[in-house]
Symmetry: C2
């Protein structure tokens, strides 16, 4: 690779000759790792013109660096970073200067230190990864996704996709969601009631920013999705955790002062409980009674393989009280970052304005690729394949869990991709997870799902969307062995 | 029951192959419940004749649907909707009803009604679109972008790109920015000092959320990028507009109580003024004196074609006082939504946590595609082509502006892609823009760039990144004609 002439700047305050400064620029580039062995320097003529110095000055600098073996000359073809040039110890530039800003004071608000736990990024290197929310590349329809992406990259689509959409979405994706995705959940919505988001988390964040303030109260399920608590902390609202039971959130327990209820009726996160229809109606009734809104996170609804999925809470809503959050990240792949919000036009209008201010719009190419993948039927084919595989794995999980005497906490779910587990009371699942890592087993300790100060220590989650069925029995066996040894 | 061939219609506006359209027609028919399990499809011959397409096209569509298990084949008797095909929802969605929520009360915060003006989305249909910030598809290296996207979609990259990155970025893109992009601006940064954002606007938003509160003061340039004011309003900080002069922001005018200074030294937005080196040093000195941080929006730096660009303000910063905002959206295409923040590690850590909470991370595939496009040198080639074209257009603009006696406001810029124009005092540029629309000319009225209560009415911006050079003279002639008639 050739080193661009544009990386060179003369500094007006430099003490010394121009030649020395040029030498130093190049040496520093090499020492800092910016210029690597074998890379070609700009010609002396080009660099001289760029810097506005005489060519002989550059040539002298190069000759000096040649003598020091920083550079080599390959006759007419020019100067290259020498194969003997010093190599920086790492990528880190050596001359890192002191930062003299008092960041404790300068930071107006802090966002670190949230409830969301760090997860091992190298989970794929573990033999028994009972992780949640990652994909199994072997299940994804990579070929057709690639074809759809190519189609979306075609000349015809290009203008549409490269434009600044301002605050708009790809109309094709919105139309597909309105005409095909939502009707399967019993939801009828017009395009003005739909907003594309950067994944479900982004949708939840937008809803919280619009509906909550520091004078308002949000009721959340306990335990619940940890990132939701980080999101609510940002809005500075008062948070009321409501304990879930085997039927999910209990409407009677929701405090009267609640303004917004966050719930996961299809598969409660993390207990996997599915809320029965009677309770859904009761939840809507309770919301009406206390005049609260409901944000329904309908994640994983496509993963129901027990019975056909029950309609969304939003489909029972006759007042515009429910705001619905959907996502393609779970069913396609999480790196996609594509979800949507469905709600009354007055709400979606504010959500659109907020999104425009924060990030304008989700990238056009991704929206269009998803629109093709959905409308060509690949998505549904994928979901059927996923369901079949997950159903099989779930059976293997259940058998292995039974065989090794582990305990599933709470009720069985209709499907999904995880089990919520419970060990005996005096076992700490952080410790269990830590010990299991040495056995190449990854599990997710349950503590961080609880919103309460002293969370129970003995719950954990076992995801099975990223572990092949044949490895499940041995993985469960290892969990049982370590659990019994503690 | 056999499905009648007459329910099939080709749509003239369909983007994609005939085969894809036929597949989509059938898939949608099944998904919407119009075609039921066991129903017989028309024969390929019959459907081909009906649609006026070749029989092989229909056969290929059927074969694909067979593979996805939407259809089954019963030998000679033809194709049927498969027994495994998805079933539409059995529950009837309720009809659209009145929304009974009092949204005036329910909305905790409003985000609509900001300063960012609405822009015509159909700008490409105008013959003389002097719009700003859109791409000219004829200049973009579409072929190589497509190849890079394909490479990023390859099996090798797939796992990396589809994973949930949690709060991380594509290391390849970060490394390229650190090693190649930033050094051209004179900036040395380690990966921990860089965060990928969803475009420059997202970067500005993140910086504002972290550095500002309702007890803090932000100084902005007046006039300035309107979306920045919407962003600052969200942080509820106090905003101090500081008038710019032909050298950009004047440090002496920045109030002592300022906590954060937002500036565009390379090309002041919208006046296009470039801040001289002496003033950059004075700005840093002023910031030090009042202990303020600086957010430098270095947009369009690649578009300098007059002289070689001066180094970024950030490159002169020895204290960690400057937070740098860069973007690929302008130089690649705005629909890409890819930018970055550079700052001290303490700042980037908070920015990463905030981004994780709001949207987790920018989509993996886009990051990797950009990394390939950059590292294969296509980006530099594109920039050179852009500069050449823009330089030519700028010359044509200048000549036409001179010929027709229009007035360029303030100083000439080093490059960029727009002119900041001034008409006589009693002309309202909103009215001018409105009249020009009827002449198929789009200009951008200048009022919304001003932060002050009674903005001057007679400024407007002429972008030339989306108008071919040969149309410029006639476009300028029309502006002059209408301007003189008012």
């Amino acid at each position: 690779m050739a080193i661009s002439v544009e990386t060179f700047f003369l500094s007006p305050g430099f003490q010394g000759t121009l030649q020395a400064q040029i030498q130093q620029l190049i040496a520093e580039g090499i020492l800092s790792g910016r210029f690597r062995r074998g890379e070609k320097l700009p010609s002396s003529r080009k660099l001289a013109t760029h810097l506005g110095v005489s060519r002989i000055t550059v040539t002298l600098a190069y000759t000096e660096l040649l003598a020091n073996d920083y550079l080599t000359s390959r006759g007419r073809s020019g100067y290259y970073v020498s194969d003997n040039a010093p190599v920086p110890p790492s990528f880190t530039p050596p001359k890192h200067r002191e930062d003299s800003i008092d960041w404790t004071r300068a930071l107006g608000r802090r966002y670190t230190g949230g409830d969301t736990p760090e997860k091992p990024q190298d989970w794929a290197t573990y033999r028994f990864p009972f992780v949640y929310g990652q994909t199994d590349p072997s299940l994804f329809d990579h070929t057709n996704w690639r074809l759809c992406a190519l189609q979306a990259l075609g000349q015809k689509d290009f203008t549409a996709l490269t434009s600044d959409y301002y605050d708009q979405d790809d109309p094709r994706l919105v139309e597909f969601i309105a005409r095909n995705t939502l009707p399967r959940r019993g939801i009828i919505a017009r395009p003005e009631e739909i907003l594309i988001t950067l994944g479900a988390q982004n949708a939840l964040w937008i809803a919280a920013q619009i509906l909550l303030t520091q004078r308002r109260t949000a009721a959340i399920e306990n335990p619940c999705y940890h990132a939701l608590r980080d999101i609510l902390n940002q809005s500075r609202c008062h948070v009321e955790p409501v304990n879930v039971d085997p039927d999910g959130l209990n409407p009677a327990e929701i405090p009267a002062e609640t303004d917004v209820i966050f719930t996961t009726p299809s598969h409660q996160c993390p207990t996997t409980a599915t809320m029965p229809l009677l309770r859904r109606n009761a939840l809507l009734e309770r919301a009406r009674e206390i005049d609260a809104l409901i944000v329904e996170d309908d994640y994983e609804f496509e993963m129901s393989f027990g019975d056909s999925p029950s309609p969304a809470l939003k489909s029972l809503d006759t007042e515009g009280r429910v705001i619905y959050v959907g996502s393609f990240s779970k069913s396609l792949f999480p790196g996609l970052r594509l979800g949507y919000l469905v709600g009354s036009e007055s709400f979606i209008r504010e959500a659109r304005a907020l999104r425009a201010s924060v990030l304008r719009h989700p990238p056009g190419h991704i929206q269009r690729t998803a629109a093709y993948f959905l409308s060509l039927g690949h998505y549904d084919a994928l979901i059927r394949r996923l369901r079949k595989t997950l159903k099989h794995r779930r059976g293997v999980m259940q058998d292995a869990i039974k065989e090794h005497g582990l305990t599933i906490a709470g009720a069985d779910a209709f499907g999904g991709s995880s089990f919520w587990m419970q060990s005996n009371r005096n076992l700490n699942s952080h410790e269990l997870a830590h010990k299991l890592q040495n056995e190449s087993v990854l599990i997710e300790p349950g503590q961080s799902f609880f919103a309460t100060a002293n969370p129970p220590q003995n719950f954990y989650r076992l995801g099975y969307s990223s572990i092949p069925a044949e490895r499940i029995p041995e993985g469960i066996a290892r969990i049982a062995r370590i659990q019994n040894s503690l």
